[in-house]
């Protein structure tokens, strides 16, 4: 463009058009149009400067320029004649026709090389399917709790405290009863809702003859509004009446079928009477309250549990949940800062003193963090599932990358075959950009085909994936964003997979290619080699990861549990009618001949519900304060679960005073500090006969036995110090533990056991659980990771091998002549195989060198989460390295042996 000269200076020398806009225009608009278009734009601009001022005129100018970015103004889409005059009809933009031609050629190419197309499409399809599955999974995780409209402003109240004795900071979500009222009194203007709640638990709902276990939540009435539930019947006020229950739609249908449930009567655990006042649309699974099938008022829970009522003004018992919703104009940070003085402001004096001593601090834990940041360190949220979300995201990207690498490698490897085509195209006038377009449209075609295949793959595997990942994912085929994202995904993948070949192939020099001697330099294959190494690094890391995760699960599963889970079932004792019938129940059960014993305990075998602190004992360091897991058990409990006595004796009816005795576990025995008291040495002196005094300073119990630790919490953590108290009259019992005789199968025994329950306590629900199944659930998280990891590892290996297979075949083909000559000169098949395999083995060895430290680094970090953990032994690396080598050799050998067996006459004849 002609630059303007001084006499033509615009009237306002300071009023310039935006520089970026001009540059953009000059770059984009066809030269023969530029002068007039830009002239007009400038003219309008100067007029507008006078009318609306410089700034706005500049903005408008920018907009106007952006409006010019249409194909019409672009030079490449309009053939330019020397005169700069626009054009006659028959030389219309060539794009659509050429594109059609490209696609046709691409399609013919695919059809011609079926094996190659298969490798490319299946590899890419698998990669895309995995990436999309992971994408769905990540979306599901990241959108957790977003069903609730106010999820940004909902939070749970947590408390942080530092134990001055052991200098340990911890946190809890269990708060004191009076805290709710105090929060409401002093801080109500920051919150829309402050709701006391009991924990989500399983209850038995019964209506007339129907009994069903359902999960429910006792919470104050604002919950329905806070969680923005979609009410099918009733409204947000439905929870205000004391004896009310609001059911989920599915629970309502399960209880009452199609009948209108409103005003129907129900009993919770056969003791709390309620009337259905509302029904809400089921909350989707990926929500904290997704499993909750009914809501009932908190006040009702208080009214029906005496011990809670007594806690109304007690700051000493922390057992309750408090949920809040912030006012719209209050941020979480503000609220956190304001409620920081909570204990100084609102509690009785002695509580304030305690609060000061333990450095109590109240803070809000926002709902958006509940799921992904659910791990705590020193009482503060510190990551959690979010690590997995990103880790899987990275893995997904890598698997896709592997598939793209295959595509790139195969295309460039095949370049020699296509070199002639490219040479001719160039010789007859193809532009480089046109060739790039051609190759990109080829890869676009392949990616679209792969996408279709991957959709099929996903629909085939989704139910399996859901099962493994414990999700309810589905392909959102009806949502427009999904298709838009897919389109973008296709475009990105097509570009990723096609860019390198496109630019590589289009750079060939026609003269050299057509002369028939395209010898790429020594380093031409280097990028390809690097890509293969990358593939193998990813694959090997995944293999090692899978082995370590699997080993860790095995390690924990093989941990001695300290009792015998076999044939053990538990049933919650949650019906008031069990009352005095427990001994009758036991006798009836024993009479069936199916049952070896029935006993009772205050917690299930696979959990600890009760923790207590404040004990003291002889020789106790007065500064130490820690709590113990407490379980109240009936006489024969030990025999039924098969705990292992290390010292002392079990509870027995032949000693009248056993109600003042206790049995402790090994960890507790060690902790009590009685271990080596009698004069050093390693000998374990069991603290039999010692007295443990309770926090009130009066009550005390004597230790009569020590048992081996029973694994009840996490199988990856050291077991908690535990006390077992005798509960002779079943006062604290909450679980019925039944041991089926080892000689009888569960299938046979269960109906008979159920019949006894129906007879003795007809109102109770027979809701049994197998202890070994409950125990196995403790591994579900790790097992899920293990299954997914092995799935990804298999796929990664498979995709990498597909690529290797293709690559090997091309390299063998490329070296056919060389092989022929070598054969003629006397090389054996073994020699030739070694020659061809050597390169790949070398690459795998390099990959191993990178992969092993990487895997070691990440896995050490992962294992660090567990106290009870396996080690990463050297054989894991050896096995995965040998495995990777073996797979590589197998893959490559097929092609290289095939090449080595070819009769040299055939391969050499052509020249």
């Amino acid at each position: 463009m002609k630059k303007q000269s001084n006499p033509n200076e615009p009237p306002h020398s300071d009023s310039r058009t935006p520089r970026w806009a001009d540059r953009l225009l000059e770059w984009f608009v066809a030269p023969h149009l530029l002068e007039y278009v830009q002239g007009d734009l400038q003219e309008v601009f100067h007029k507008r400067v006078e009318q609306v001022g410089l700034a706005r005129a500049r903005r408008e100018y920018g907009w106007a320029v952006l409006h010019c970015l249409t194909p019409f103004f672009h030079q490449s889409l309009r053939s330019v004649r020397a005169t700069g005059k626009p054009i006659s009809e028959h030389t219309q933009p060539a794009l659509p026709d050429m594109l059609r031609n490209y696609f046709k050629i691409a399609f013919r190419n695919l059809a011609k090389n079926k094996g190659y197309s298969f490798i490319n499409i299946s590899g890419l399809a698998m990669g895309m399917a995995v990436t999309m599955l992971i994408g769905l999974w990540m979306y599901d995780e990241l959108s957790f709790n977003q069903y609730h409209k106010n999820y940004d402003s909902i939070a749970q109240v947590r408390r942080l405290y530092t134990d001055p004795n052991i200098q340990k900071t911890d946190g809890t979500d269990a708060q004191q009863f009076p805290m709710g009222a105090a929060l409401k009194r002093h801080y109500h203007h920051y919150f829309k809702h402050i709701l006391m709640a009991w924990w989500v638990g399983e209850y038995t709902l019964s209506a007339e003859d129907k009994k069903m276990p359902k999960k429910g939540e006792f919470i104050e009435a604002g919950a329905l509004e806070m969680l923005s539930l979609k009410m099918v019947k009733g409204n947000y006020a439905s929870l205000k009446e004391l004896h009310s229950i609001v059911l989920s739609k599915s629970a309502s249908e399960a209880m009452f079928g199609q009948e209108d449930p409103i005003n129907k009567r129900l009993k919770i655990d056969n003791r709390i009477d309620v009337v259905v006042t509302g029904v809400y649309e089921d909350i989707p699974r990926n929500n904290r309250f997704g499993e909750v099938q009914f809501f009932s008022p908190w006040d009702l829970w208080v009214a029906s549990n005496d011990w809670i009522k007594q806690n109304e003004n007690d700051w000493g018992n922390s057992s309750f949940g408090i949920y809040v919703q912030l006012q719209p104009n209050v941020s979480l940070e503000t609220a956190n800062a304001r409620i920081n003085d909570f204990f100084q402001k609102s509690t009785p004096k002695e509580m304030a003193q305690r609060a000061a001593k333990y450095k109590y601090e109240v803070f809000l834990y926002p709902m958006k963090d509940w799921h992904l940041y659910s791990e705590f360190k020193n009482g503060r949220p510190a990551g959690g599932r979010i690590t997995f979300v990103w880790l899987f995201g990275v893995v997904g990207l890598f698997v896709l990358l592997l598939a793209c690498i295959n595509f790139m490698n195969l295309s460039t490897a095949r370049s020699e075959k296509r070199a002639k085509e490219i040479g001719i195209r160039k010789a007859i006038g193809s532009l480089k950009t046109q060739l790039i377009q051609q190759f990109l449209s080829e890869s676009f075609l392949v990616v679209v085909l792969s996408f279709v295949v991957s959709l099929v793959l996903i629909s085939l595997t989704l139910s399996w994936f859901n099962q493994v990942a414990d999700k309810e994912l589905s392909l959102p085929v009806e949502s427009l964003p999904f298709w838009l994202i897919s389109l973008a995904f296709i475009a990105v993948t097509a570009f990723l997979a096609g860019a390198y070949p496109a630019f590589y192939l289009s750079a060939f020099q026609p003269v050299k290619v057509l002369k028939g001697t395209i010898r790429l330099g020594r380093f031409a294959a280097l990028p390809r080699k690097i890509l293969v190494v990358v593939q193998f690094v990813v694959s090997i890391v995944l293999i090692i990861g899978t082995i370590v995760v699997y080993k860790q699960i095995q390690f924990a599963q093989d941990r001695p549990v300290g009792y015998n889970r076999e044939g053990l079932i538990t049933i919650p004792k949650n019906d008031p009618n069990y009352g005095g019938k427990l001994d009758v129940l036991r006798n009836e059960l024993l009479n069936t001949g199916m049952v070896a014993g029935m006993e009772l305990s205050s917690s299930p075998l696979t959990a600890v519900w009760n923790n207590m602190g404040g004990f003291s004992w002889k020789g106790k360091d007065p500064e130490v304060a820690d709590d113990f897991a407490i379980t109240d058990v009936s006489y024969g409990f030990g025999k039924v679960v098969g705990w292992q006595l290390l010292a002392g004796r079990d509870f027995s009816k032949s000693f009248a005073t056993d109600s003042t005795k206790m049995i402790i576990n090994e960890s507790a025995a060690n902790y009590l500090g009685l271990k080596n008291r009698n004069g050093g040495g390693a000998a374990f002196r069991p603290p039999i006969g010692e007295f443990i005094t309770f926090y009130d300073g009066k009550t005390s119990r004597q230790i009569i036995g020590v048992i081996k630790d029973m694994v009840r919490n996490s199988p990856y953590e050291p077991e908690k110090r535990a006390f077992f108290f005798l509960d002779a009259n079943y006062a604290a019992a909450s679980q019925i533990d039944i041991k089926i005789k080892p000689t009888v199968s569960a299938n046979e025994a269960l109906p008979k056991i159920e019949a006894v329950f129906k007879k003795v306590v007809p109102s109770a629900a027979f809701d049994y659980k197998f202890v070994d199944e409950e125990y196995a659930k403790k591994f579900s998280n790790e097992e899920r990771i293990s299954k997914l990891a092995s799935f990804f590892a298999t796929l990664a290996i498979f995709i990498s091998c597909l690529g290797l297979f293709g690559l090997a075949s091309f390299i063998a083909e490329q070296r056919t002549k060389e092989i022929g000559v070598r054969k003629v000169l006397g090389a054996s098949v073994l020699n030739l195989w070694g020659l061809l395999a050597k390169d790949f083995v070398f690459l795998v060895v390099i990959a191993l060198g990178v992969a092993i430290p990487t895997a070691w680094y990440f896995l050490t970090g992962w294992l660090g989460n567990y106290t009870y953990r396996t080690d990463i032994s050297w054989w894991i690396f050896a096995v995965s390295g040998a495995g990777a080598l073996l797979i590589t050799l197998l893959t490559v050998s097929f092609q290289s042996i095939k090449a080595a067996l070819i009769n040299p006459v055939n391969s050499l004849r052509s020249e």
Binding site: Q4, N8, Y36, V37, C68
Partner: protein, 112 residues
Amino acid sequence: MKKTILGELEELVLLVVAASTEEVYGVPVMEQLQLQTGRSFTVSAVHTTLYRLEEKGFLSSSVGGATTERGGRRKRLFALTAAGGRVLLEIQQMRNQLWQSIPEGKFDLLGL
């Protein structure tokens, strides 16, 4: 040649050029369009249409002079060709026919 159909904008632009007493270029066309229709048009839309009309042979163009307010850039001046005039007349005729075929009193019934 197949009979060319004009789009609405094309027709408007053609009319604006026809209505001007001398040759015009992008900016005046745009201003006239805005004035007559009360709608706003972008420079790019006006140019696209002008060039398209020229390709169709309804307008002819020549290079005009430069002025300072255009940053020294020249104008491309457009004038109506005979073909352009013909196509406008055809459109008008066709419209007139349609108008005449509207039954009498129809608009009265609609209260217009």
